[in-house]
Subunit: 361 residues, 2 copies
Amino acid sequence: MTEPQHAGLDTYRYAVLAEGHFGPETSKTANSAIRYLPARVAAVVDSVHAGRTAADVLGFGGGVPVVGTLAEALPLGPTALLVGIAPQGGRLPAPWKAVLLDALAAGMHLVSGLHFHLGDDPDLAAAAAARGLRIHDLRRPPPDLPVSTGRARDVDAFVVATVGTDCNIGKMTAALQIRDALVGRGVRTGFAATGQTGILIEGWGTAVDAVVADFIGGAAEQLVLRAAAGNDVVLVEGQGSLVHPGYSGVTLGLLHGSMPRAQILCHKPTRACPFGGDGAYRWMPLPSLQAMRVLCEAAIAPLRPAPVIAVALNTAGMTEDDARAAAEAATRDTGLPATDPVRWDAGPLADAIEAARAAMG
Amino acid sequence: MTEPQHAGLDTYRYAVLAEGHFGPETSKTANSAIRYLPARVAAVVDSVHAGRTAADVLGFGGGVPVVGTLAEALPLGPTALLVGIAPQGGRLPAPWKAVLLDALAAGMHLVSGLHFHLGDDPDLAAAAAARGLRIHDLRRPPPDLPVSTGRARDVDAFVVATVGTDCNIGKMTAALQIRDALVGRGVRTGFAATGQTGILIEGWGTAVDAVVADFIGGAAEQLVLRAAAGNDVVLVEGQGSLVHPGYSGVTLGLLHGSMPRAQILCHKPTRACPFGGDGAYRWMPLPSLQAMRVLCEAAIAPLRPAPVIAVALNTAGMTEDDARAAAEAATRDTGLPATDPVRWDAGPLADAIEAARAAMG
C-alpha cells in the first residue's frame, strides 16, 4: 500500500549515510532499515566504522558492510541514498549536502526523514530534476489534514497504541514485532506508521511530529482510519513520551487522535533521563514504570478508557540475567506481563492484546 | 516590544471582518480586539448584525458599529482589515478573498490569525506589494525554533500558566486580567502570547498551534525566556485543553515548554462538551473541575511540581446568581479560590499568585 509521494520506496536498495553517527543510539533510521529491510541495505557510509559490519557496530544486521565513502558503496549496487540519522531538530549536517549531490550525480534517488525537506533545497531539487530522480521526504506532511474529532473511536478494529517512558526506546520496533506475532497467528493486523522510519519500512504513513501542531491528532486519526480497513487489530506506532520535555505534545496529540482501546507501555530499563539534546535532559529523572502507566491511562481516560495491558522492554546492551531481572521487576511493579519482543518473543504482548480484545469485544 | 514581522501592528485602526460569524463564541479574534483594543476598532463587518453595535451582539464593546459591507466601514477610517474569526482548521472562507482584495484596493493593510497564511496567496501578496501594504500573518511561526529542553525552569520570574477544561473559554482573557491586576499592584508582569489574538493585542508572540509539532515546547520556551526578562511574574497564555481531542497535543507541549511554577485553571461552567467542530465533540462530557485539576498537576509533576492555585471562571451568559453559585461550587469542589476575572475582579487570582510566589520563593 503506497501513496503517490512514496511511490518507489518499496523497491530501493540503499546506501545509508550515517557519517560519524552510526551506532546503537545515534542512527535510528539506519538501524531500522538494517533490522527491517536487511536485503535492501547495500552498505552503511561512516568513515569512523569503515571496514566493520553492521553486526560489529549494532549487535545485529549481519554482514551489511560499513564503508568510508559513498564512492566505495557504489560497486555494491545501491539505487537510493538514505539519510540514516534523525537528529533532534531535524536539520541536515552541512557537510552532507555534497554527498547527496554526489549520490544524485551517481543516479541514486534520495530518501530522508529529516524535518528539513531535501526537496526544498534548490540545488538538490534541480539536480534530481535534471536526472529524473526522486526525492522522498518522509516527514513531509500530506496536505489538508483535519483537526481530530475522535472519530477513530468508531473503527471496528481493536486499536492498540505503543506508548513509552521515553523517546527512542523501541515503540516502533515493539509494534512491528507484535504485528508479526499476530499475523503469524492469523490475526489481520494493520500498522499505522507515525514516524519517518515506520514510513520507510511500511511504504506509507505520516510523520506526526512534522505536521502543524493543531493537526497532530488529525494526522493520527487519518492513519488509524486507513490502517483499520480490513483489519482486526491496528497497532499505532507511538512517538516520544508524555513526560519528554521536548516531545510530549506530539505524544498526547497522537494518543488522542488514535483513540486506542489499549496501550502497550515501552520501557528501556537502562534509560535514566529523557533522551536527546546532548544530555540536555539530565536534570530530570524518568518516572517509575508504574507511575508512567498511571499517567498514560489518566491522559486518555476522559476520552475513553484505554488500559495499559503489557510492558515491552528494550533490554539492548543488558546481560541476559539483567534483562530477565528487569522483566521480572516490571511485572512486579505493574502486575502486567513484560517481555523484550526483540531479545525474546513478542508472544506475551500478542497474548495480552488478544485477551484484551476478547474481554472488551 | 515588537518584532520585524509584527511592525506596525500596534498602530492600526481596524475594520474587523466577521461576515456571518460575529457572536460571543464564533468570532474570538474580533471579540478580543474589541475588548482589548476598543479605541482601535472602527467597525465590525457582518451583514447579519448590520445596524447593531458590538455591545448589542456581545454584551460588551460599547458603541463599536456593525456594518453590512466593507464599503460602509471605510468612512470610519480603518487603516487595516483584521480577519475576525479563527475557525477550526484555520482556512479562509472562500468568499472572503474578494473582500480582502477590496481592502487592499482601499489602501488597508491585512492582519490575520488563520492557519492559512494570507501572504502565501499570490493574488493577495501581489496586490499588497503593488500598493506597498503589509500582510501580517499572526500565526506564521518564527524560523529556527528549538526543541525544548526545560531551560525555562531556570528563569528568575515566577511563571504561571493559564490552563483550562476546554478551548475557547477565556485562558488568554484570564491571563490579561490577572496581568492588569498585578501591574496595578506594582508587580512587574510579562505576558507570553501563544495565540494569534494574544499576539494581536501584545504586538509579539508565537502561535504555538501553528508551529511544526516537534517544536511546540521550543516555541513556548522561547516565549517564556523573553517574557521573563525584567519581570517578576510571567503569565503564559494557555491553549486548548489536556482533554480536548483535537488540541491536547498543543496544550501539553505548551505546558512542558513553559515550565510554570503554578497553574490557574480556567473553566466555563456552561460548557458541557469540548468546543468546536460543529458539535463533533458532543460524544464526550468534560471532566469535573477537580478531575481536571488533578490531571493538570499530574501532567507536569514529573518535570516539576506546578500546583493549580486558583480557578478562573468564565460566566458569560449566566445570571449573577448562577455565576455566584458556580464560583462557590468551584471552590467547594477544589478547595481553591475561584472568580470570574471579567465579570468581577481578577484580584483573588492575583492574590493566589502572590501567595504562591511568596511561599515557593
